[in-house]
């Protein structure tokens, strides 16, 4: 199979779906510009023009409402936010309208399958309001689907699923994934939500992760393998629906759980995964669960603070060693995932 980068996979899914379904359109601030939302909307604009790839005013609330109204009238909107942090301004329409539309009007009159992409902007010093990962915030609300593709194949498949399904979907993409390459099917094949993926098999400890943290977990697993510790990495792929089965089966096998996320621990992704285990298979745990997440402060800008703030492979290594009852003194620090990032921003 040919390989694509993650951003190319998104672009390809967008273009292919738009070719097949003329109800699909893209809306967002600057989606038509030369950078094309990290490249992801550029080809769509070049192919379909401003009638279907619409540069919106800076009005996140009305844009979301507009998308809902278009969906109610039969369209398939794809809204793009180049920073997921801007989605708080669209929280009301997404949570109070899109999530509840079909149900609240009785369940039989069609929903509003609006698709919203939000990019976690962590690059260089994006700071406290340009690098947040709000996936758990949206995934708390019944009526939405929330997915966090970690691979180019999933980035494509899940966008295809979103653009062909019946449910409003929030897709959270970490900017650090865009250059990642991987095999991607040529055809627009939907990846159903709610089915996790074993990214790496192992027997001593399970790391459950989403999005970027799946890769950090894989890097951690590499290093731990050298130390004789076998790590299984579970990529949940979607937060809502959540594949409880794959989490519980893996933990039942390994007896140890580390959950890794790019957001805060409290009431977040790491909480839910730990809760699922506590609900279904607590007796298999041979050690307390460890959560790898953000420290309880906003994101700082200064380089050393930022590096200390964002968890990565090294934090996962430490957590795995801890649940295995070992110390991490001997291991070298792993470079931060953004180490190769080039500015200007």
């Amino acid at each position: 199979m040919r390989t694509l980068t993650y951003w190319q996979a998104i672009s390809e899914a967008t273009v292919q779906c738009m070719e097949r379904d003329e109800r699909i359109f893209v809306a967002g601030e600057g989606v038509d510009d030369v950078s094309g939302s990290f490249g992801t909307t550029k080809e769509a604009f070049d192919r379909f023009g401003p009638g279907r790839v619409i540069d919106m005013p800076n009005a996140e609330n009305a844009t979301a409402g507009f998308a809902i109204g278009a969906a109610a009238a039969g369209q398939r909107p794809l809204v793009v936010h180049v920073r997921a942090d801007f989605m708080f301004l669209a929280m009301d329409p997404i949570v109070n309208m899109a999530a509840k539309w079909r149900y609240t009007y009785g369940g039989d009159k069609g929903g509003v399958p609006v698709v919203t992409r939000g990019v976690v902007g962590r690059g260089w010093g994006q700071g406290s309001t340009h690098s947040q990962s709000p996936h758990a915030t949206f995934a708390h609300y019944a009526g939405l689907h929330v997915a966090t593709p970690a691979t180019p194949a999933d980035a494509k498949g899940m966008l295809v699923q979103a653009l062909t399904g019946d449910t409003p979907v929030v897709l959270i993409e970490n900017r650090n994934l865009y250059q990642l390459t991987g095999e991607v099917p040529e055809e627009p094949i939907p990846t159903p939500f709610g089915i996790g993926r074993i990214a790496r098999t192992g027997s001593d400890v399970t790391v459950v992760a989403a999005s970027l943290m799946v890769h950090e977990a894989e890097r951690a697993a590499e290093q731990l393998a050298q130390r004789g510790i076998s790590v299984e990495v579970v990529d949940v792929r979607s937060l809502r629906p959540l594949d409880e089965g794959i989490i519980c089966e893996s933990v039942a096998k390994t007896g140890r759980l580390v959950v890794a996320d790019t957001s805060w621990a409290r009431y977040g992704f790491t909480a839910e995964v730990a809760a699922v285990v506590a609900e279904h298979v607590p007796h298999v745990l041979r050690a307390p669960v460890r959560r790898v997440s953000l420290p309880d402060c906003p994101a700082p800008v200064s380089r050393p603070l930022e590096e200390a703030f964002h968890p990565g492979a090294s934090s996962i290594v430490s957590a795995c060693l801890e649940v295995c009852g070992e110390r991490d003194a001997a291991l070298p620090q792993l470079a931060d995932v953004s180490a190769g990032f080039q500015g200007p921003f």
């Binding site: 009638g51 919106m56 005013p57 009005a59 609330n61 009305a62 844009t63 979301a64 409402g65 507009f66 998308a67 809902i68 109204g69 278009a70 969906a71 109610a72 009238a73 039969g74 369209q75 909107p77 009301d92 329409p93 109070n96 309208m97 079909r102 149900y103 609240t104 009007y105 009785g106 369940g107 039989d108 009159k109 929903g111 019944a142 009526g143 689907h145 399904g165 019946d166 449910t167 159903p192 939500f193 709610g194 629906p241």
Partner: protein, 325 residues
């Protein structure tokens, strides 16, 4: 044959009659367990505007939803069943008074959060234009919802893209008990804001159903011709409390005189007075309609009460479709 103008009166009488009776049941029985915002006194806005639309045009509204729903031709039985929370309700008992919909007549939905259906209507209107259909989206909201930022955002986008949408602001002077004076600066208006955003805007006597209809026809045709969005600011007045069936004359936020002067300007009486010279039988007709709609409403209530509630085993249905969850 009922003349076109008399039909407007009949539609207002129907809404008035239905709401007054529903308000009584609501108060006396405590069985319609859903916060309900009556439009008693404001019927001319809904009737005048909706009479200017076709079934293909879509009407959205805010929380004060019954009048636009009925004026658009929404099914009364389904509305009443909805208020009683029955499976036969227009939202199958899931939505209640603030979330009604009747797609068959082009009533596209109402919402409980202020301002929401303003941006939504813009999206639907845009869709109509995109499809090359000569349809218009309309959206009812109070002047209180115009305080919300999404109103400004929506006006702006509609103006930039010349979207066939008609913004219908029912300015009844109050947002619950807050007067305009604490919410909008003196000398400003909702239509003035719309104009500043590039939206054609008019201020109309919202208790004059004929004037409303005329303005709405112009507005809808303007939008339909692709000439862009229009805002109508319709001055009107709510007789009952903000929510629920009661009066609120003793709440202190508006004077008895003010209420009485607006009641004296009752849109039904005004329209009937205006028609009497041309149609001397109008009073008799109003009396007949009134009786007819009383019966219709009582029958709808009786029917609704006899209907079954939704099956709790189907509690989750509709949140997600089976295929995708």
């Amino acid at each position: 044959m009922v003349s076109a103008r008399a039909r407007l009166i009949r539609d207002m009488v129907r809404i008035r009659t239905a709401e007054e009776i529903l308000a009584d049941y609501y108060r006396d029985e405590q069985e319609m367990r859903t916060p309900t915002h009556f439009s008693i006194g404001q019927e001319a806005t809904a009737v005048g505007v909706c009479s200017a639309t076709t079934t293909e045009d879509w009407v959205y509204s805010g929380h004060r939803s019954h009048a636009p729903y009925l004026a658009k031709g929404g099914d009364l039985e389904a509305l009443v069943a909805e208020l009683y929370g029955k499976e036969d309700g227009c939202a199958h008992g899931r939505g209640g008074s603030m979330h009604v919909m009747d797609q068959s007549v082009g009533f596209a939905g109402s919402a409980a959060i202020l301002g929401e259906m303003i941006s939504v209507a813009v999206g639907s209107g845009w869709t109509f234009a995109r499809a090359g259909e000569e349809r218009v989206a309309l959206t009812f909201f109070g002047e209180g919802a115009a305080d919300e930022g999404v109103f400004a955002e929506s006006l702006n986008f509609a103006a930039v893209h010349r979207i066939p949408v008609v913004f219908v602001c029912e300015n009844n002077l109050y947002s619950i008990s807050s007067p305009l004076s604490v919410r909008h600066a003196e000398g400003t208006s909702v239509h003035g804001r719309a104009e500043a955003a590039g939206v054609r805007a008019l201020s109309v006597d919202g208790n004059d159903v004929f004037a409303v209809q005329a303005a709405a026809r112009d507005a809808v045709e303007h939008a339909r011709r692709g000439e862009g969005p229009v805002l109508l600011e319709l001055a009107t007045y709510r007789w009952r409390a903000h929510v629920g069936p009661g009066l609120d004359h003793d709440h202190g936020y508006r004077s008895k005189e003010e209420i009485e002067s607006w009641m004296a300007g009752c849109p039904i009486v005004r329209a009937t007075d205006a028609l009497r010279a041309d149609e001397p039988d109008i009073d008799a007709a109003v009396a007949t309609w009134s009786t007819e709609f009383q019966q219709e409403t009582h029958a709808a209530v009786d029917r609704a009460k006899a209907l079954p509630f939704p099956d709790t085993a189907r509690l989750l249905d509709g949140a997600y479709l089976p295929e995708t969850h």
